[in-house]
């Protein structure tokens, strides 16, 4: 088992799948000659050539649509958005074409495509370039949405996403690309739709996905000093959702704090809270609390941006609140 970065894990997954299946190709802005804006596709052009690793013009709607068309005739495109902020330009292709094609052709034409790239706020990129995209996509039936937090999950989920016969939204993060972690050797595939307990604990469940899993782990470590054992459940897949894993941790701890980097209003946490109260009402000892970004466009000012983002202190406070410890 080798320790590598999240970026290297993705690069390995892309290379292995390009190698394994001739119908797989990667397309996006600067993915080829420049090795990708965040160097995720480093070396792939040299290895697989410009028919398999394709630089596109700056036109998200156009190359997303090219990808959907290629998928319709049997290829398996991986479309990179330099960041998911730019995917807004391609919403019509993603939602109206990719997500609905299987349904509208009566099951005849499936779209095996992956839309990938970093999502959420990095540091001081301003309101238009600092948004979490999961809620926009997870809303749509026909799309699968994953948000890995670790190098191992990034590699395993990317391979599963490329092999999946339906469109998958694959959310990465600028702040995760340098995170290091052990990745199993060989053909490591993580099935879509399975959550993962990243830390065991019996007192309170912190549920998170993507970047906020690390926040949850930090909070859990600090809670330990107060004698509180927090369980951290990493959803990994937002759709399909691992409801069984969520209910299992609720039944174990009776208390849930959801941490996400997006806005609170109808965010992922709202869906999780609804699911929990529907399915495990009698197991709850406290309301489900959410820790999210403040309900405002992300400020550019460093101090304000810090205040707007979820942080470990707020996660700890929420955990103590559901434990009725103040």
């Amino acid at each position: 088992m080798a320790e590598i970065t999240y970026r290297e894990a993705l690069n390995q997954a892309l290379a292995e799948e390009l190698e394994r299946d001739d119908s797989v190709f990667l397309m996006g802005e600067e993915v080829a000659e420049y090795d990708g804006a965040y160097k995720v596709s480093k070396g792939l052009l040299d290895r697989f050539g410009d028919l398999r690793v394709v630089d596109s013009p700056i036109s998200e709607l156009g190359f997303a649509g090219l990808g959907v068309g290629a998928a319709m005739v049997g290829l398996r495109p991986i479309i990179e958005f330099m960041t998911f902020n730019f995917s807004l330009l391609a919403l019509d292709q993603i939602i109206n074409s990719a997500a609905k094609m299987l349904y509208m052709t009566g099951g005849q034409i499936n779209i095996p495509i992956v839309f990938r790239g970093p999502s959420g706020a990095a540091l001081q990129l301003g309101a238009q370039h600092s948004q979490a995209a999961e809620t926009w996509y997870v809303h749509v039936p026909g799309l699968k949405v994953v948000a890995p937090a670790t190098p191992a999950d990034a590699k395993g989920l990317m391979k599963a996403a490329i092999r999946d016969d339906d469109p998958v939204i694959f959310l990465e993060s600028e702040l995760l690309y340098n995170v290091r972690g052990e990745v199993p050797d060989g053909d490591h595939v993580v099935p879509l739709g399975l959550a993962d307990v990243k830390r065991e604990g019996g007192d309170v469940s912190i549920i998170a996905h993507g970047k906020t899993v690390h926040l949850a782990l930090q909070a859990a470590k600090r809670l330990e000093k107060d004698g509180i054992e927090a369980e951290v459940l990493d959803l990994r897949s937002l759709r399909p959702l691992d409801v069984d894993a969520i209910l299992a941790t609720v039944r174990k701890t009776n208390r849930v704090v959801y941490v996400e980097e997006g806005w609170p209003y109808l965010g992922m946490g709202a869906q999780i809270a609804a699911t929990i109260q529907e399915e495990a009402f009698d197991d709850l000892d406290a309301p489900v609390l959410r820790v999210t970004q403040a309900d405002v466009p992300m400020p550019y000012a460093k101090n304000l941006e810090k205040l707007a983002k979820p942080n470990a202190e707020r996660v700890i406070a929420a955990c103590k609140q559901v434990l009725y410890r103040t």
Partner: protein, 440 residues
């Protein structure tokens, strides 16, 4: 201070009531709890009691008049008070109804911090159907209507499982919310107290009524399939019928001896009393028959509340002998005689004709040889008893005459299978043919 007298919900299903008779006239002094009127409900004639002291100042609904539940039908005032501009009947003011006609569930418990008020100023006892006309902010003392104990869903569930009254547990959550740790502390305290008082060994009869009242058996896939298939084939309750013939010689002898011992003309034990006793004892041995169909589970009762069909002029009513499995013949006999008599006069209280776990219907006294009863849902079965008839039978190669009785059991096939019902009937037959088995 005036008190409105409302048409109260006097049976679980009552929507309106008719005044049969006012027992108090306008101008009569009345005190709290005194009977004001007899009200005919959809089930029986019930008594309406005063919820306040004073003078019955005004009757707003005459004898024979009908009013929906909640409507004001009379007004009680202080001795020197006039009705003045009090609202009159038909204003549509609807009082709260509790579904079972009793006080609200445990959640409306008395709160210790509730302000104590003047003695004698009692709160309404039955679901808040009467209200005191008092100066503004003053609350009636005692039960505070609508005051719900705040508790987390988990705490609520744990309290129920531990059979603890939520209202007796002090909540330490925000706003006094009862949370898991509070219930756990209460359970621990209860255990300690229990350990300190060494409980005397329970007698057999006590054990039979002390244990859990029932056990909910989850439906297996097979049971679900059986249920679905049978409903598809026959009505909402898929009946099937089992018939057995019982030799009643020993019961007839036993009755004669017992009644000779009792020497009391009024207290004579009937054949039907023996049948009820034997049925109750058999049910206690066959909880799989003493069951309710709950739709998604089967509720097996450990106690036997035996419904006994009684004919009245207006139709059938089924008073219930509670804990019939631990009652003796004399007790059962006296109880059913008393219940049946009041049933015929439509004087039964709702709790006296609801909650049965299984039923018995006997038409033997009408000269019926045998018949099938219709199950009273959600019960899983009913036993229909025919008359005892002198019948020639062949015993050891000889034709002899024996008093035979046919018992037919209707079974809900979703709950009871053929063999299950047959085993129960076998026990019942044994108990009737050899009464001593009831002692085993």
């Amino acid at each position: 201070m005036a008190t409105k007298v409302h048409m109260e919900a006097l049976s679980p299903t009552m929507e309106e009531g008719q005044v049969v008779k006012w027992l108090k006239a306008e101008g009569d002094a009345v005190s709290h709890g005194e009977i004001l009127a007899e009200i005919e409900t959809d089930k029986a004639t019930m008594e309406l009691v005063a919820r306040g002291d004073g003078v019955l100042r005004k009757i707003l609904l005459g004898e024979g008049g009908t009013a929906p539940v909640g409507e004001v039908i009379a007004i009680i005032t202080g001795a020197d008070e006039e009705v003045g501009d009090l609202p009159v009947a038909g204003e549509g003011e609807t009082a709260e109804r509790s579904p079972d006609g009793k006080a609200e569930s445990e959640e409306t418990g008395r709160e210790e911090e509730g302000p104590e008020e003047a003695p004698g100023d009692e709160a309404p006892a039955a679901g808040g159907v009467a209200e005191e006309e008092e100066p503004a902010e003053k609350e009636p003392a005692g039960v505070q209507e609508g005051e719900r104990v705040k508790a987390s869903p988990l705490a609520r569930r744990l309290a129920q499982e531990g059979k603890l009254e939520l209202s007796t547990i002090e909540g330490t959550g925000p706003g006094g919310r009862v949370v898991r740790r509070d219930v756990e502390a209460a359970v621990d305290a209860g255990r300690k107290a229990e350990a300190e008082v060494a409980a005397p060994p329970p007698s057999r009869a006590r054990a039979a009524v002390d244990g859990p009242e029932f056990e909910d058996v989850p439906l297996t896939q097979m049971r679900k399939t059986i249920a679905r298939r049978l409903v598809e084939s026959l009505g909402p309750v898929p009946h099937f019928f089992l018939r057995i013939t019982v030799d009643m010689s020993r019961i007839l002898e036993a009755r004669e001896r017992v009644n000779r011992l009792l020497e009391d003309g009024d207290g004579r034990i009937s054949i039907n009393d023996f049948i009820l006793k034997a049925t109750a004892s058999s049910l206690a041995r066959h909880p799989e028959v003493n069951s309710h169909w709950n739709g998604d589970s089967i509720r097996r009762f450990s106690r036997v509340h035996l419904g006994v069909a009684v004919a009245t002029e207006e139709g059938l009513i089924t008073p219930v002998i509670r804990d019939a499995h631990v009652k003796g013949l004399v007790e059962i006999s006296a109880e059913i005689r008393e219940l049946a008599a009041r049933g015929k006069e439509k004087k039964l209280q709702p709790e006296e004709y609801t909650g049965s776990t299984f039923s018995v219907s006997n038409l033997g006294m009408f000269g019926i040889h045998e018949f099938t009863g219709v199950i009273n849902p959600p019960e899983a079965g009913i036993v229909a008893v025919g008359g005892i008839e002198e019948t020639p039978v062949v015993l050891e190669g000889q034709v002899v005459v024996r008093p035979l009785m046919k018992v037919t059991m209707s079974c809900d096939h979703r709950v009871i299978d053929g063999a299950t019902g047959a085993r129960f009937l076998e026990t019942l037959k044994e108990m009737l043919e050899e009464p001593a088995t009831a002692l085993l």
